[in-house]
């Protein structure tokens, strides 16, 4: 017997994310980002989002460029080989149009792990002595957002203690990364919500459990029974997933292990074009507004997507051009 159906459409999924939400995503830099949903959020003109991410990438550059984001809290943003840094974040930082909060990558991973385990913090010794811990650079604090009004925003950026057990010295307590909604882009989800992730799973299991609402967008919705025959291959249990969406190529232009590679040309063009707000607006006009996901795929065209398609033995594309030439 199955649960009440969790299946919804892409636009219904975007509607679940309210203005002002604390939002996070699956994936890693330019891999397995739920871009199809991000485009839909931009079409729906979502505002005042607080992104809190283990690391960031093109999906957040889209949202930031479109003016959907008030707070960006993470450790990294860029396009890897295809764009040196996040030009839209950089522009809005320079123009003081966004609050940015920097942690280290391990700190962000531990923050999500803490939230996923229902712990208020975890202890780490990374990044001691760096400006990441500079108390003047607590940007949420400077903005007055650590007043306890939003119960998910910690009242301090860090809390330093000494190890009481082994004399191991200074420990940095990093607060749990509590989020309202997590959106994941994965290969397969069962019709009751069980998630199977192929390849590196990044921080997806933690991210799903750190959120109050978890939306999973998958290349395929498959029979739950099939996934349950090999439960050790699954990464997120049914009851942690609230909504599921079937959407092929949901991560484009980022890549999806076993399904398709990163569209480097798309990212390089985006990075180059959107270093100005005018450039971003043109990009959005061309690739986001006035299109739905099917229109977007049609615009990309079959030959381009065929080049990105992963070799099923190697799990990555052997046809995509990756070199500089």
């Amino acid at each position: 017997m199955t649960s009440r159906s969790k299946r919804i459409s892409l636009s219904e999924a975007a509607e679940i994310i309210k203005d002002g939400s604390l939002l996070t995503f699956s994936g890693f830099t330019i891999w397995r980002r739920p871009c199809a949903l991000v485009y839909e959020l931009i079409r729906q003109k979502r505002r005042h989002l607080h992104l809190i991410e283990v690391n960031s990438g093109p999906h957040s550059e889209f949202l930031i460029g479109a003016g959907c984001v008030d707070v960006w809290e993470s450790c990294w943003i860029g396009h890897e080989l295809y764009g040196k840094y996040g030009a839209n974040l950089a522009r809005r930082v320079r123009q003081k149009e966004i609050i940015y909060e920097d942690y280290s990558h391990a700190e962000m991973a531990f923050r999500f792990q803490a939230a996923a385990a229902g712990m208020p913090f975890m202890a780490t010794q990374t990044s001691l002595g760096t400006d990441i811990h500079n108390p003047d650079y607590d940007m949420l604090g400077r903005a007055g957002l650590r007043n306890g009004k939003n119960p998910k925003i910690p009242r301090k950026k860090y809390h330093i203690v000494d190890d009481p057990f082994f004399g191991d010295g200074r420990q940095v307590l990093v607060p749990a990364a509590k989020v309202d909604v997590a959106v994941l882009a994965v290969q397969q989800v069962g019709d009751e919500g069980t998630v199977r992730i192929a390849g590196q799973f990044f921080t997806d299991p933690e991210v799903a459990r750190a959120a109050d609402i978890t939306i999973v967008i998958a290349e395929e919705i498959v029979p739950e029974e099939y996934l349950r025959h090999e439960s050790h291959l699954n990464k997120i249990p049914s009851f942690q997933v609230d909504y599921i969406v079937e959407c092929p190529w949901c991560a484009h232009p980022t890549g999806m292990f076993r399904f398709y590679d990163v569209d480097g040309e798309f990212l390089r063009n985006f990075y180059t074009q959107t270093r100005s707000q005018e450039g971003f607006n043109e990009f959005a006009k061309e690739w986001i507004f006035g299109l739905n996901h099917d229109g977007y795929l049609n615009k990309l065209g079959v030959p381009r997507l065929a080049r990105l398609k992963a070799n099923t033995v190697l799990n990555y594309s052997t046809r995509v051009e990756r070199g500089r030439k």
């Binding site: 450790c75 080989l81 990374t126 002595g129 010295g169 390849g199 590196q200 921080t203 990555y316």
Partner: protein, 275 residues
């Protein structure tokens, strides 16, 4: 036919080749190596195919002891996963690093100071930056947890300042918050102290650190450079008293591996004009 173990002549290799090979030589066999994207990847894959076949490679995104066949374009790339012992996630990779398994980290940076503090976050005042960069990524984490860290950098005078705009990744002398007074890394890290930056490989030379004073010194200068010239290329007073000589160029074998096996598509490294 050329003897592949022989050293190449100027013009037969690029500066990128020289740096990659210098980086690869920092790896010892059997070590656990944690690598970032780009030139570090080629350096490690080169070491894996030459003098360090048993090195264990960790990528931040979750691949443990991978044996990539093709060059990954980033650490999240499916190409990382090929031949791996375990495909896991970031929490696992960083936990393993924090637990003390990592011998060597391989990283990049935009600025480095005399004590090996590296900036990848913002240029200018952090609160009012001239240029916002990518942010830390795993740079401070890998460097905090590894026994040794090697940096690969472009050498410009402004990139070797007296003080970096923002300390993203800790050097040998760091700031003791909340006061911000400078202290030796060993004092701050306590039981977690395992080492620090061991080399900077720039486009000008190879630099090392005196672990007690924490100061950078020039070890080798690249062909065409001189210690004095390099000192002029730093805003701080570079110690050139311990120079050991010129950076050893790549062998023909190494050039072959870089351009015909590891990066034939010139993803990170352009081919030398005459080859």
């Amino acid at each position: 036919m050329k003897d592949r173990t022989q050293l190449a002549q100027p013009g037969e290799y690029t500066l990128g080749d020289l740096m990659t090979v210098a980086a690869a030589r920092e790896v010892r066999d059997n070590e656990v190596v944690f690598a970032g994207t780009g030139m570090p990847m080629i350096a490690i894959m080169l070491a894996q195919r030459t003098h360090a076949p048993r090195l264990k490679l960790i990528f931040e995104a979750g691949t443990l002891d991978g044996r990539p066949k093709e060059l990954p374009t980033s650490v999240g790339d499916p190409r990382c996963e090929v031949g791996a012992s375990v495909a896991s996630g970031l929490y696992e990779a960083f936990s393993i690093a924090q637990r003390g398994y990592v011998d060597l980290g391989f990283l990049g940076g935009a600025e480095v100071d005399e004590y090996g503090n590296v900036n990848t976050t913002a240029i200018g005042d952090y609160l009012n930056p001239l240029l916002r960069l990518t942010g830390s990524g795993g740079n401070p984490d890998i460097n905090s947890f590894a026994k040794r860290t090697v940096y690969i950098m472009v050498h410009e005078k402004r990139r070797f300042p007296k003080n970096v705009s923002y300390i993203t990744s800790p050097g040998w002398r760091v700031k003791n918050w909340p006061t911000g007074e400078w202290v030796h890394r060993r004092e701050l890290y306590g039981a977690a102290f395992r080492g620090g930056p061991s080399a900077v490989i720039s486009t000008a030379g190879v630099f090392r650190f005196d672990e007690e004073t924490g100061r950078m010194y020039l070890d080798t200068y690249h062909p065409g450079m001189s210690p004095e010239k390099i000192r002029e290329m730093c805003e701080f007073d570079l110690d050139i008293s311990r120079v050991s000589g010129e950076t050893v160029p790549p062998t023909y074998e190494e050039i072959h591996l870089i351009h015909h096996v590891l990066d034939p598509d010139e993803i990170f490294l352009a081919k030398p004009r005459k080859e």
